[in-house]
């Protein structure tokens, strides 16, 4: 029982991070029909750049929370600029090209960013300095750290804010209109390029926050961390229904739970044959199952085929 609740807590924390990254994939896919495979690298650069700032300020006497907050405040605009630049350089010139072309530049962009990060930050793992209070609370026999609580609350607040932005503001309305029919949105006076840029800016800001969350929660960051994380968040977006915003949130949380519970019980299930380090297998098992049995995802509708 204790393992169960503990894995639920861990799964929700991991899942809310996946959700933040998955939103970046789904927002861009919704508007451009493009899978931005470089998105995982934006998360990685968010994590490493924040960590650089955090390490620099770690001995400054500032309280740990303030140091992390400054790290986030540096990483967010940096990643926004990066996401904006990626779209301008790698995708915009190929807007009219066959679908395969931007997919290939996406992968190329991902490799370039990884290599640049390797040159800049090296091949080593960077550990998160122990500046955050190590407090937490017991829930029955399970334990949730204050950091985990903070991640859950911040992710929930960000997602609520994003829903408000998309459903209640002029920009959000224009984004939904553009996602549905860019040509008609253009006739309404919507500058499609500005909307696409806004989408990349928003997704990249979420990626930066998620990157800091990952490195704080697992105390580690590395130039290759974006690859698996990006692939898992992409899986979460597909699970929820790519292009669907609440779907990405649901898909992220579900994937986090599946992985966490799977890792917690895989030993029992296989009689000790497979250990918890097989955690990653679940995400890709989920991806395959979804692609085979429900490619439109849990919340993916087929409204586009009507009217």
């Amino acid at each position: 029982m204790d393992t169960f609740i503990q894995q639920i807590i861990n799964g929700l924390v991991l899942g809310s991070i996946y959700a933040l990254v998955a939103l970046g994939y789904t927002l861009v896919y919704g508007i451009l029909g493009l899978i931005n495979f470089a998105h995982g690298e934006v998360v990685m650069i968010g994590a490493l750049s924040a960590l650089t700032v955090i390490k620099l300020l770690a001995g400054s006497g500032l309280p740990g929370i303030a140091v992390v907050a400054i790290g986030v405040l540096v990483a967010v605009p940096l990643c926004m600029a990066l996401g904006y630049g990626i779209e301008r350089v790698a995708y915009r010139p190929l807007r009219q090209a066959p679908r395969l072309a931007p997919l290939i530049t996406a992968i190329g962009m991902s490799i370039v960013l990884q290599q640049l990060a390797m040159i800049f930050w090296g091949r080593n793992y960077h550990s998160f300095p122990p500046i955050l209070p190590e407090t937490g609370r017991e829930i029955g026999d399970a334990y949730i750290s204050d950091l985990q609580i903070a991640i859950l609350l911040l992710a929930a607040a960000i997602m609520a804010g994003l829903m408000l932005l998309i459903n209640r503001t002029r920009l959000g309305r224009a984004m939904r209109a553009t996602a549905e029919n860019p040509q008609i949105a253009g006739l309404m006076g919507v500058n499609i390029n500005a909307i696409i840029s806004a989408t990349f800016l928003i997704g990249s800001a979420l990626a930066a926050v998620a990157g800091v969350m990952v490195s704080a929660n697992y105390s580690i960051a590395h130039y290759q961390m974006g690859f698996i994380l990006g692939l898992k968040a992409f899986t979460a977006a597909v699970l929820g229904g790519i292009g669907n915003v609440p779907g990405a949130m649901l898909g992220g949380l579900l994937l986090g739970l599946i992985e966490s519970l799977g890792a917690g019980y895989i030993g029992d299930l296989t009689g000790g044959f497979l250990g918890s380090h097989y955690q990653d297998v679940f995400a890709f098992f989920v991806l395959i199952l979804v692609l085979v049995f429900r490619p439109s995802g849990l919340m993916g509708e087929k409204v586009a085929e009507r009217a």
Binding site: R173, R176, E180, M188, A307
Partner: protein, 258 residues
């Protein structure tokens, strides 16, 4: 016949406002050419629409009417001249037009199916900042098209075809257009719905909005418009007063089924 009466009304409106706008027409198209990958769809047409006038462009399936409107709305690259309010539109991007008072209601309506009726109308006013003016226009459009008020919260994709056409029209009106380009508003609608849609178009024209109406239904178009152009295989073959075109033996044979 009510048709004759209405065309006279529209004609009177056209003359009334046309005088105020001096000689220069609101829209002047010269030698417009549009092609799809080397295949010419519009082969050098010229037409003009004076301020306050309702003009129709009629022609059979595939004549190039939609292509012409799309070129005017800058959705397709074109050669020739498109002057609107005395300025060339050729260098303009599509999203700049609505702010200049030029609105297209596209073929097939193009409502945002996943947005509510109210949100679709709000999209029409996307470029406007005058909150009071927008609220007043919304009220006016709700009075003109009461169904849109009843269905404000409903997703546009759940509306009937006629209601979607009304919504597309209402959405364009929310931009407070000076020139309205309408592409086959009767398409796919039941006769009773066609009557209602055209009644609304008539009232919009009577309020002083200049309209270029594209229709396959020539009788209907010529009954509401003051003047008309007949398009065939990408070229304009006939032009004139609506009443004259209605009486023209060639038009009667080819487009009125007589």
């Amino acid at each position: 016949m009510p048709e004759a009466l209405q065309s006279e009304e529209a004609g009177a409106d056209g003359r009334g406002d046309g005088g105020a706008a001096a000689r220069r027409p609101l829209l002047e198209v010269r030698d417009l050419q549009v092609s799809y990958g080397g295949i010419a769809a519009v082969r050098g047409i010229s037409l003009e629409v004076a301020a306050g006038e309702m003009v129709c462009l009629i022609g059979a399936n595939g004549a190039g009417k939609t292509t012409t409107l799309k070129a005017l709305a800058r959705l397709l690259p074109a050669r020739g001249a498109i002057d609107y309010r005395g300025e060339s539109l050729l260098q303009r991007a599509p999203h700049e037009l609505i702010g200049a008072g030029l609105a297209l209601v596209p073929e097939g309506r193009g409502v945002f199916a996943r947005l509510s009726v109210a949100e679709n109308l709000a999209m029409g006013a996307y470029c406007r900042r005058d909150r009071d003016g927008i609220a007043a226009d919304l009220e006016h459009i709700h009075a003109l098209l009461p169904r849109l008020k009843e269905r404000a919260g409903q997703l546009a994709g759940t509306l009937s075809g006629g209601e979607q056409q009304m919504l597309a029209l209402g959405r364009a009106l929310m931009s407070r257009p000076q020139l309205l380009l309408l592409d086959e508003p009767s398409m796919g609608l039941a006769p009773i719905m066609v009557q209602r849609v055209f009644e609304v178009i008539r009232r919009v024209a009577a309020e002083g909005v200049t309209i270029l109406l594209v229709e396959q239904n020539a009788r209907l178009a010529l009954s509401v418009a003051a003047r008309g152009y007949v398009m065939e295989s990408g070229a304009i073959t006939l032009a004139g007063e609506a009443a004259a075109l209605l009486a023209d033996p060639k038009v009667r044979e080819a487009y009125l089924g007589e």
